[in-house]
Every structure is written in structure tokens, then in C-alpha cells.
């Protein structure tokens, strides 16, 4: 049973990772006081040095890359049961630690867009022509932050049938930003004049692919053809440990009324009308992913996922394994 709403799943995995990580660090310190560097620090652990088989005093370290992982619990039920067995003593300390970390996480979530926007000056230079698509609050803040220092020209693809682009254009208009709205079909034609493409995403999948607003794939493909850089602004909470098994797994169809109105009676009967909400953009078309820590290549994603979701990896996979 696969989760449909990726963002919720991401947050759950992250919280689970926080809990497990805190648990491992508390466990080490309480057992014999020999603080083991490998386990204590945030985001490390994983693979050969993970909670299952790391060196404790003179216990034999597990052999083989990640053999330690073989001892990890396979699903949420087992994970919880195992934690409960050993956690009675540490629950008191663990609780306050976890609550504090979750609060930190909530603050991180709230400040995501602001922190992403802080990176804007690195990616946007004076008098650049930028293409974007649809409505994205992250991209809007990103561009506005850049515009507070330099003059930029923004071309917004209108993204039919929702016409989100119009709203985005209205939100962006201001001093230092020249906004132009174009039809989706005109994107390829004007791409040769564009310096950079900046897109938002609904979610970023584990292979570096995007689930983004409908129309993003076309824009990214046109950009690749013209060797124009594609920058994707997405908060860390959008990075999902899921892999796309096929292009449309995380897509949904919304009402086709916007594409072909129900009023056209005869036509509606004879024609099959689809209105997909999202587009899948393959990782080869994405150049940089910008999150609150800065820019990353899509090939670096495995590292981010490991740092943020490592202890929840088994949960993610037990859900994908139908």
C-alpha cells in the first residue's frame, strides 16, 4: 500500500528518523558511558556503523558493507516493539530530547522558504531573463529576494488549464522585476532567449526526479535542448525516499472540466479528456536542486536522503514492497 501524498510520508519518515537517532545516541551514552563517536553524531550512523552492529567495547564489528543492516527491524511494528523492549529506562530522557528535536524540525519547516530565498543571489545575476512556470510560493520568494538587489526579467508560462501563471505574475510584479506571461506552447520558441529556468516542485523523488506542476517536463526538455540551466527550488521536506517505478505513480487526475467544459455535450461523450495535476521530470533534465542548505546535484540526493531518512529507510521500503 503506497502512500499517495508524498509530503506527509516524508515528514513521518523524518520524525521516525529523529526518534531512532535520538534513541541510539541515548542508548550508547547510558550503556557503560563509552561514548562512541560513530553513533553519537547526527546524520552519521547508517550502513556498516549503524545501530545494529557498531563497535561497542570489544564486541566484534559486523563484517561486510552494511551487514549490520541485516539485523535492523523490517517494519514499523518490529521497530516499535524492539524499541519498547529496551526503552523503559531511557524513556524519560528520550521524550524531552525528541520533543525538542521535533520542535526544531517545525521551525525548520516554517523557515524553509526564507532560507531557500537566501541562496537567490548565488543563482541569479543582474539583468538575467528567467523562465518559470505555474504558481510556487518558494520560487516567488526566491525571485523577490534576488530582485531586492538586482534587476531581473521573468517570463512566466501560464500553465493551462489552471492558469496558475497569471497569479504568479501578479504576485511577482514589482520594482526591479519585469514580468511577461506567455502561453505554454510558446516556451520552446522563447527558450533561446532565456538565461535560466527556475522551477518549483511538489516533491523530489529519491532518484532525483521531480513531481512538479503540469508543464514542467516540457519546459525542462526545452531547456535541455538549448543547454539552459534548470534550477529547482524545493524545501528539504519535499525530498522523498520513494523511487518512481513508473512515471505516473505519483500523479493524479483532476476534473477535466477545465480542459473541455461539460457544456459541450456531444463532444464530451466522444472524447476521453485527461487533466493530470503533476508532471514527472526525469533526473537527467534537472541541473541543480536548491534547498535551505544551498545547491546540490541530483546525484548527491542519496546522501541527503541517508542523512535525513536513514533510520526510516526500512519503513519506506516495507511500504513500497507490495
Amino acid at each position: 500500500m503506497l502512500p499517495q501524498e508524498l509530503l506527509i510520508f516524508n515528514v513521518v519518515c523524518r520524525v521516525l528518523h529523529i526518534v531512532n537517532e535520538d534513541y541510539s545516541s541515548v542508548e550508547v551514552v547510558s550503556e557503560g558511558g563509552t561514548s562512541n563517536k560513530k553513533k553519537g553524531h547526527a546524520g552519521g550512523g547508517g550502513g556498516g556503523g549503524g545501530a545494529g552492529g557498531a563497535m561497542k567495547g570489544n564486541e566484534t564489528p559486523a563484517m561486510g558493507l552494511g551487514q549490520a543492516g541485516a539485523g535492523q527491524p523490517r517494519n514499523l511494528g518490529e521497530q516499535v516493539a524492539r524499541s519498547m523492549d529496551r526503552a523503559a529506562l531511557n524513556a524519560f530522557h528520550l521524550k524531552s530530547l525528541v520533543i525538542q528535536e521535533i520542535n526544531d524540525y517545525m521551525v525548520e519547516l516554517e523557515k524553509t522558504e526564507e532560507e531557500i530565498a537566501d541562496n537567490a543571489r548565488e543563482h541569479i545575476h543582474s539583468n538575467e531573463i528567467i523562465l518559470t512556470c505555474g504558481r510556487s510560493a518558494t520560487v516567488e520568494q526566491f525571485l523577490k529576494h534576488a530582485a531586492s538587489k538586482v534587476r531581473i526579467h521573468v517570463i512566466v508560462a501560464e500553465c493551462a488549464p489552471a492558469y496558475d501563471g497569471h497569479e504568479q505574475a501578479r504576485a511577482l510584479a514589482g520594482p526591479n522585476i519585469d514580468v511577461v506571461v506567455v502561453a505554454d506552447a510558446a516556451v520552446f520558441a522563447i527558450m533561446s532567449r532565456v538565461n535560466k529556468v527556475i522551477l518549483g516542485a511538489h516533491a523530489v523523488l529519491a532518484n532525483g526526479g521531480l513531481v512538479a506542476a503540469s508543464g514542467s517536463h516540457t519546459i525542462a526538455a526545452a531547456a535541455r535542448h538549448h543547454s539552459t540551466q534548470v534550477v529547482v527550488c524545493a524545501g528539504l521536506y519535499k525530498y522523498s525516499p520513494m523511487f518512481p517505478f513508473d512515471d505516473d505513480r505519483f500523479n493524479t487526475l483532476v476534473s477535466p472540466d477545465a480542459v473541455l467544459a461539460y457544456g459541450n455535450g456531444d463532444l464530451v461523450d466522444a472524447v476521453d479528456v485527461c487533466n493530470p495535476r503533476y508532471d514527472y521530470v526525469p533526473p537527467e533534465l534537472v541541473d541543480i536542486l536548491v534547498d535551505h542548505t544551498g545547491g546540490h546535484l541530483p546525484s548527491y540526493l542519496y546522501r541527503l536522503l541517508q542523512e535525513n531518512y536513514n533510520y526510516a529507510k526500512d519503513l519506506a521500503w516495507s511500504m513500497q514492497d507490495e
Partner: protein, 316 residues
């Protein structure tokens, strides 16, 4: 001790290795090698660490020589040697041997589970109505397909014949026994059918530091055709097959010999069949750009993730 393979205790590590392989055909080369090395450590009577540190690497090189530098076997031996290096710090020869035997035995027992884990991670990518192209015979791939069948997925498989040993035929037999519709495809017909294929699966002899793949000859070709047709190419490998090699071309592999395909003089009555089998390579190298994802027991990873795992293990 150099030319003597018995280490003074009458234990012949190569013999034991061959016996293990014969006894259990489903066991893979690196696991059998570690199992033999564990037995060696049990049998040896070294009293100092220095002696132990000489005996074990010597046994490893004997194994490598006997199997013509098999990549997967080298990977297994390297893992064992790395473990020995870790355990040798601050312990006596006896303590070290005991710990090594324990670690080695756990590894051998856990290795079977590795294959199952790979199958678990990979079987989610096989969906209903898929047409899969498989290269040659690989136990890991069979495990994955078996799992997909158990999950009641309906799919079809093209298997490449994989000359010169035609191991693809063995794969087709097993698939037929599982009830999966399959066809054996000429190695040369891969381009012909690639349009109809949804995904390509290949096993691995070894996975190198760059994330590239060393596998049965024909894999590189398959990957190139898959890339040209924009089909995903997935490689399956257990984590103990990660090797510390960084080949830059086909001819950088340790299994490369200068007499392969070297235009040696031929007789007028040359038996080309026999010559083909003797002069052709058995392995090739697939660069990481052609590989979409790697399914390992550590999880699904992009080729760029491989070096990270290697660093974590080998550089502690």
C-alpha cells in the same frame, strides 16, 4: 611457504573452496571463499599476529590465482582482509582468530539473506504487464523474479542466450518452471527487441568505485542499447561485491589478458569454434552513466552512492 598451499597443517584452501562450491551450487564465489578462509583460520596454528597476517593474504592470493582473478572472489577476499586488519589492532593472534572466525561465519550465514534483501528492494520495480529483458543467468535476478511471481505479478521475460556458454538457456528453463512466459533472444537481437522492453536487469560480478558494473560479456552492449532506447537499466548486486577498482576502459580490468582477441596467426584448418571460446573475454565493464539504478542489500542506490559505501567500509 610461498609455493606450498597447505600452510604446514595439510589444509589446502583452494581444494576446500572447490569442495564448497560443488556441495552447494547456489552459493556465490565470494561467500565460498570467505567460508574457506574461515576454515583456514580455524586450522592454522599461528602464534603471532605477524604470522597470521602472512598466512591469510597468502591464502587469498592463492584463491585469486586459482580462479584467474575472479572479480567477485577478489571482492570477498578484500572484505575478509579488511575485517582482519580491523580486528588485528591491540589483540593477540588467538583473540583475533576467534573474532575473525565469528565474523566470517556470521557473514557466510548472512550472505543468503543479502540476496533476499536485493530481491525485496528490486521486486517493487517489476509491475504487471511488464516485459523484462534479462542478461544471462544470475542467481540474484532469479531470486528477484521468483519473488515477483510470488507477489502474483504477471510479466514476460526475454533472456539473452549469452554465448559462448549459453547460460541464458538455464535461466529460461528456470523461468519456465516458475510459469513465467519467456523467450530466449540472440545476443545480436537485443537491439531488435529493445523497443518492446520495459526494463533491463543485469546481475554483477563486481561493482566498481565509480558505480560501474563488471558483468558477463554482453552487458555493456545491452546497456548502450537500453540507453539509446531510453529504457531503464537496473543492476543487481550484493554489497560484498563492491570492489576497490576504478577502471577507465574495458582493458583496465584485472581479468584482462593481452592474448584476448589478439589476431594471433591462424592455421588454414583452424577450428574457429574452439578458437572463439579461447580468445574471447568473459567479462566487460559498464560505465555508471549507462546504469539507472543499483539494487543492493543496502537499498536502492544511484551509481554515485557506491563510492560512499566503499569509503564507509574501507576507510572506517
Amino acid at each position: 611457504m610461498a609455493g606450498n598451499s597447505t600452510f604446514g597443517t595439510g589444509f589446502n584452501v583452494v581444494q576446500h573452496y572447490n569442495a564448497v562450491l560443488q556441495q552447494d551450487p547456489s552459493i556465490s564465489a565470494p561467500v565460498a571463499a570467505v567460508s574457506s578462509l574461515v576454515r583456514l583460520v580455524e586450522q592454522q596454528r599461528a602464534t603471532t599476529m605477524l604470522e597470521l597476517m602472512k598466512i591469510v593474504p597468502e591464502a587469498c592470493s592463492q584463491l585469486k590465482r586459482a580462479t584467474h582473478d575472479s572479480i567477485s572472489l577478489s571482492a570477498g577476499c578484500d572484505v575478509f582482509l579488511q575485517q582482519m586488519a580491523r580486528l588485528s589492532q591491540g589483540q593477540s593472534a588467538e583473540e583475533c582468530s576467534r573474532a575473525l572466525i565469528q565474523a566470517g561465519s556470521e557473514f557466510v550465514q548472512g550472505a543468503g539473506r543479502c540476496r533476499d534483501r536485493v530481491a525485496e528492494f528490486g521486486s517493487a520495480f517489476v509491475r504487471d504487464d511488464h516485459t523484462i529483458l534479462v542478461h544471462s543467468y544470475s542467481r540474484v535476478i532469479m531470486g528477484l523474479l521468483r519473488r515477483a511471481v510470488k507477489q502474483n505479478k504477471r510479466f514476460r521475460v526475454y533472456v539473452t542466450e549469452s554465448r559462448p556458454d549459453q547460460s541464458g538457456l538455464k535461466a529460461a528453463e528456470e523461468l519456465q518452471a516458475l510459469g513465467v512466459p519467456c523467450e530466449v533472444v540472440l545476443d545480436a537481437a537485443v537491439g531488435y527487441i529493445m523497443e518492446k522492453v520495459d526494463l533491463v536487469l543485469a546481475g554483477a560480478e563486481g561493482v566498481v568505485e565509480s558505480g560501474g558494473l563488471i558483468n558477463k560479456i554482453g552487458t555493456y552492449q545491452l546497456a548502450i542499447v537500453a540507453k539509446a532506447a531510453k529504457k531503464p537499466f537496473y543492476a543487481l548486486a550484493e554489497s560484498f561485491k563492491f570492489v576497490r577498482l576504478y577502471p577507465l576502459s574495458q582493458y583496465d580490468l584485472p581479468t584482462h589478458r593481452s592474448d584476448l582477441l589478439a589476431f594471433k596467426d591462424s592455421k588454414p584448418t583452424e577450428d574457429w569454434h574452439a578458437r572463439l571460446a579461447a580468445t574471447n573475454p568473459m567479462l566487460d565493464y559498464t560505465p555508471p552513466e549507462l546504469i539507472t539504478l543499483l539494487f543492493t542489500d543496502l537499498g536502492v542506490m544511484t551509481p554515485s552512492g557506491v563510492s560512499d559505501e566503499l569509503i564507509k567500509f574501507y576507510l572506517d
